[in-house]
């Protein structure tokens, strides 16, 4: 079964795998091509076709031109919103998760198993169970319809994942290392800073990629807790589709979709190995 050489069987394998790969790439190719075709050209033909004139202008309009409701600033403000939510929430949740994971795995304290068990339940609890309480909490502390509110939500909820990732990684570090450092008089933070953090490179990359991708792509909280100019880009894409439903601008919409997907796609291309590791680490909980 694992012989090399060019038997007909192997040609079939290559054929099958190339066909499926083409099907998997097709949606991306179609959208990229459409982002370079004018709205009129798409309207006359179909969504699937080669650009007759390269309509680079679609990207200009998508980035800073098209209108949703009465504001005509393109997708730029929503991209900025997403960045202003995703970057701080990723940093906070990763850092706090690393410290929590370190405390739970290597420091040990009374009740650690209990609280860790409850925190990891957050991996499973549906978002729908938290929508109403978050609405009330955000309203009470005056953070409804703010980016800060979304940062808070994603930081607290992200802790379930980040603590799990880091804890499972730190568990493999020998306790003797910590014990020796404690005998030398090193405290909680010094050990974290001097011993744990330098060992944490891979897991921090996995965690950051996972958190960034999840928060950037999140939609339900964005659409529930923010409106209008405060929305992240996922919610803005839906608003754009609704706004142009009567006179579709498929060229511009395609460009907007590409722009919105670009940050996570780039991260995937650059850190694919770590992306997959996060995926499978999250799976084998």
């Amino acid at each position: 079964m694992r012989d090399r050489g060019f038997a007909p069987g192997r040609i079939l394998i290559y054929l099958a795998v190339s066909l499926i790969a083409a099907a998997w790439l097709a949606p991306l190719v179609v959208v990229v091509l459409n982002s370079l075709r004018s709205n009129e050209e798409i309207a006359q033909a179909s969504m699937i076709g080669w650009p007759q004139h390269w309509a680079w202008n679609n990207y200009v309009v998508a980035w800073s031109g098209f209108c949703v409701a009465e504001t005509c600033a393109g997708i730029r403000p929503y991209m900025l919103n997403s960045a202003l939510v995703t970057i701080p929430a990723t940093i906070f949740s990763t850092l706090l998760g690393a410290i929590a994971g370190y405390a739970v795995s290597l420091w040990r304290f009374r009740g650690d198993n209990w609280i860790y068990g409850i925190v990891t339940l957050g991996l499973f609890l549906p978002q729908q169970m938290r929508l109403l309480p978050w609405t009330v909490v955000l309203r009470d502390i005056g953070l409804i319809n703010t980016l800060t509110g979304l940062v808070l939500i994603h930081t607290i909820q992200g802790l379930s994942f980040t603590t799990l990732f880091c804890r499972n990684y730190y568990v493999a570090i020998p306790h003797e290392l910590i014990r020796a450092a404690r005998i030398d008089g090193a405290g909680f933070f010094r050990i974290f800073w001097r011993i744990i953090l330098p060992l944490s490179g891979p897991i921090l990359i996995v965690t950051v990629i996972w958190q960034f991708t999840h928060i950037w792509n999140e939609f339900l909280y964005g659409v529930t807790f923010t409106t209008g100019q405060q929305q992240p880009v996922t919610a803005a894409l839906i608003a754009l589709s609704a706004a142009v439903a009567d006179i579709p601008q498929h060229g511009v919409q395609s460009a907007a979709v590409i722009i919105a997907a670009l940050p996570t796609l780039l991260i995937y291309l650059l850190g694919g190995k770590y992306f997959v590791r996060g995926l499978t680490a999250g799976a084998v909980k």
């Binding site: 079964m1 394998i13 290559y14 795998v17 499926i20 998997w24 790439l25 949606p27 959208v31 798409i42 179909s46 969504m47 699937i48 706090l96 410290i99 405390a103 304290f109 609280i115 860790y116 409850i118 925190v119 339940l121 499973f124 609890l125 549906p126 978002q127 729908q128 169970m129 938290r130 929508l131 109403l132 309480p133 607290i156 909820q157 802790l159 379930s160 603590t163 909680f188 933070f189 950037w216 792509n217 939609f219 339900l220 529930t224 996922t234 894409l237 839906i238 589709s241 498929h250 919409q253 979709v257 919105a260 996570t264 796609l265 995937y268 992306f275 995926l279 499978t280 799976a283 084998v284």
Partner: protein, 307 residues
């Protein structure tokens, strides 16, 4: 001034406490916030589901009335039927696709890394993007059907997106495209961990590749298959963005799913009590999947520990 008490010499316990206060805060505050929000938010939503709350949360007790109202609504019934169909079709087909991809990639083919990246990239984009793109491709007036018509085959029909009976399958298609790569990644890891000595022994005994797959390799993938199924089911139960972008529950309410019903009740009809009841029902559906899985995992681990 009483705040200096704790750092006065001769009180070692208090001094120690103050000295270590920063680390206690860093450990406990995030963990407690996380745990407290999970517990209290769940309990609060459950409590609301038993109250007559509509526009705003109010106290009071209506027993199971919200639940019976939700369960009796056409919206929920369609959503539940859709979930059963979508959940089973999507889980079976994406696991099958993932397994086929994994087996193909496991044949020592050239360009494996590139191919793997191609099958996994949809996982990096949001469901909103996936749903939007597939809504174009599957739109009969714009996408695949239009293309085939323009090419000359004018009787070709592929209009599931606007067909009440078939629309749910468009969500299955988009979901398979998005997450089969995930199943592939797990299966591939499983295939690579099969003991090479056993395979070699079987080859020496004259077993062909088909037989080796059927008798040795595939049976060893059972635990991974169960994990894949459970995770994909968890995704299916909470599907929201994908449907919102692809069909928005339509045509009519033909592609309604529980998560959309919850959102509709809570934020569009302002029936908080019923919305909370629908959310709790979602949680119960999820538990019906996760609890047996947790029990199975527990038994497996016990068995591994004794072996």
């Amino acid at each position: 001034m009483t705040n200096a008490v704790s750092i006065r010499p001769g009180r070692p316990v208090a001094t120690e406490l103050v000295r270590r206060l920063p680390e206690y805060l860093m450990i406990w505050v995030p963990l407690l916030l996380s745990a407290a929000h999970l517990v209290s938010f769940s309990l609060w939503t459950i409590w609301i589901s038993f109250t007559p709350s509509t526009l705003i949360p109010v106290s009071g007790w209506v027993g199971l009335r919200n639940y019976s109202a939700v369960a009796a609504s056409r919206n929920w019934q369609i959503a539940f039927d859709n979930l059963l169909l979508f959940g089973s079709a999507f889980v079976v087909l994406s696991a099958a696709t993932g397994l086929v991809l994994a087996i193909l990639l496991d044949q020592r083919i050239r360009g494996e890394n590139v191919l793997r990246s191609i099958f996994l990239y949809p996982l990096a984009v949001s469901f909103v993007v996936t749903g939007t793109v597939w809504s174009w491709l599957l739109n009969p007036g714009l996408g695949i059907q239009k293309l085939v018509h323009d090419l000359g085959w004018t009787t070709f029909k592929f209009d599931w997106l606007i067909d009440r009976d078939m629309a749910i399958w468009t969500i299955v298609i988009a979901a398979i495209w998005q997450s089969s790569g995930f199943a592939m990644a797990l299966f591939l890891a499983g295939l690579r961990s099969v003991d090479a000595d056993i395979i070699k022994a079987a080859q020496i005994d004259g077993a062909g590749p088909v037989r080796i797959y059927r008798r040795i390799i595939l049976p060893s993938l059972w635990p991974i298959t169960i994990t894949v199924v459970v995770i994909q089911l968890q995704f299916a139960i909470s599907t929201f963005d994908l449907v919102r972008a692809l069909t928005n529950g339509g045509p009519g309410i033909a592609t309604q799913l529980p998560a959309l019903v919850v959102y509709d009740l809570m934020f569009q009809r302002s029936l908080l009590g019923r919305g909370a009841a629908a959310a709790v029902l979602m949680l119960l559906i999820l538990l019906a999947v996760l609890l047996p899985y947790a029990a199975w995992r527990y038994v497996q681990q016990r068995r591994a520990a004794h072996a």
